[in-house]
Amino acid sequence: MDFDINKIREDFPILKQNLYSGQLVYFDNGATTQKPNSVINIINEYYSKYNSNIHRGVHYLSEKMTQAYETARKTVKTFINANSDTEIIFTSGTTESINLVAFSFGEIFINEGDEILISEMEHHSNIVPWQMLCERKKAKLKVIKLNHFGELLLGELDELLTDKTKLVAITHVSNTLGTINPIKDIIKKAHAKGAYVLIDGAQGIQHQKVDVKDLDCDFYAFSGHKIYGPTGIGILYGKEELLNKMPPYKGGGDMIKSVTIEKTVYNELPFKFEAGTSNFVGAVGLDHAIRYVQNIGIDKIAEYESDLATYATDAISRIEGVKIFGQSPNKSSIISFNIENIHHFDAGMVLDKMNIAVRTGTHCTEPIMKFFGIDGTIRASLSFYNTKQEVDKLVEGIKKVKELFG
């Protein structure tokens, strides 16, 4: 299939939206992505024709909905090349996936004095759950530091990894700096020391091929809404052997085999971790979002986005007074920057009025801000439906901002 940007843009109704004085330029893809018609329509269709609770139903609709839900699981399994369906847990998003591991893995694997290793570039969702776990279990949180290009100081990894390190929780791609971490190496080193590894894939999965078998990660977490799917659905991939050892996270319907007041027997994987009514329509939406990505081809997407990011980085960095944060050669299509003497919030407000949606602030990564000694950035995060013309509008916008506040 050819990568036809005009045809692709046709698939996303919101991109035709007019804001104040012209067409939306949506560069806030790191926060959430837009949905293709195939996703919007399937949600509509399932609510209109097949909506029914899953798993325990004897009737037609329930059967149909259950099949769609389990098909979604298979789609995810194939997409990330997991060994089996049972390794794919539906959650409400990356944050819940990480909290699930922090609780359930934590309950059984983390004891007083153990260490958990994260990095200075983590999203709060991959910091706070570990802080909470460390507090509960009297364990220690350790940190891989950054350099000024926004890369991890992996030279220090050998020292940071000790016999007490039980888990390394690291982001695949930094949502603020765009840095793509060499996770395969990190996983190998951690495993050599006997530590397990969780990858926060919130910004990884939608931009490049992820093969959990090849990576050999123990957990991989991501959100549906960041890969063109609906809100309220996410994935935790976990190795079956580990998931089997972990106690359940939430209790309720569907995660049990039998219940008496005295004793409850938990269900097998993946249901053990899916308590209560799942977001089954959300799962179907995610299924179709992934199919959409597969249809284009994740490698084609990566190539196009990389090209666009290079173009944007080049254009933005030519503007005088602009400083880009995150300059690793291994970068995703996320560009964080500030304009000299102009508050990021002021810039964002003016860009907004020029119909350009960027994010401003700390992007839920305060430790990165502290490292760079700033209190926020302007972040343009690009997706495969964005264009160079849109980048040009952003450049124009930045110039206008400079003029206004100059």
């Binding site: 899953i54 798993h55 325990r56 004897v58 059967e63 259950t66 099949q67 389990e70």
Partner: protein
Amino acid sequence: MTINEIQDQIIEEFSIFDDWLDKYNYIIELAEDVPVIEEEHKTDVNLISGCQSKVWLNAELVDGKIHFKADSNAIITKGIIALLLRVFNNREPKELIDFDLYFIDKIGLEQNLSPTRANGLLSMVKQIKLYAIAYNSKLNN
């Protein structure tokens, strides 16, 4: 008859029904044909528990062939068991290791063997295969 010959025969038999209730009626009649497992063999070991209906399955190797006995507390499930055993019962282990179970789909009962329908039937088919493998290696030792 081979496994496939019997499957084809069943498909042929079911081709006359164009009404679901007639089909179920027939399946209910078939339920009486199941070589019923003795009460004392309805133990937990032989229980294949679905969430919705229970299935018991017992196997014995007699003269190189596997004799199955089974039961269910739900009649339609039991009727389908009758069909399955018509195909699988009294065969040599090696015949049951590698087969293509297609008649269920063809007669429109695929829902009953879907992994999401917790009636124990899919597990029963898996269990039959496991018995076959076990007995086969026993015979070859």
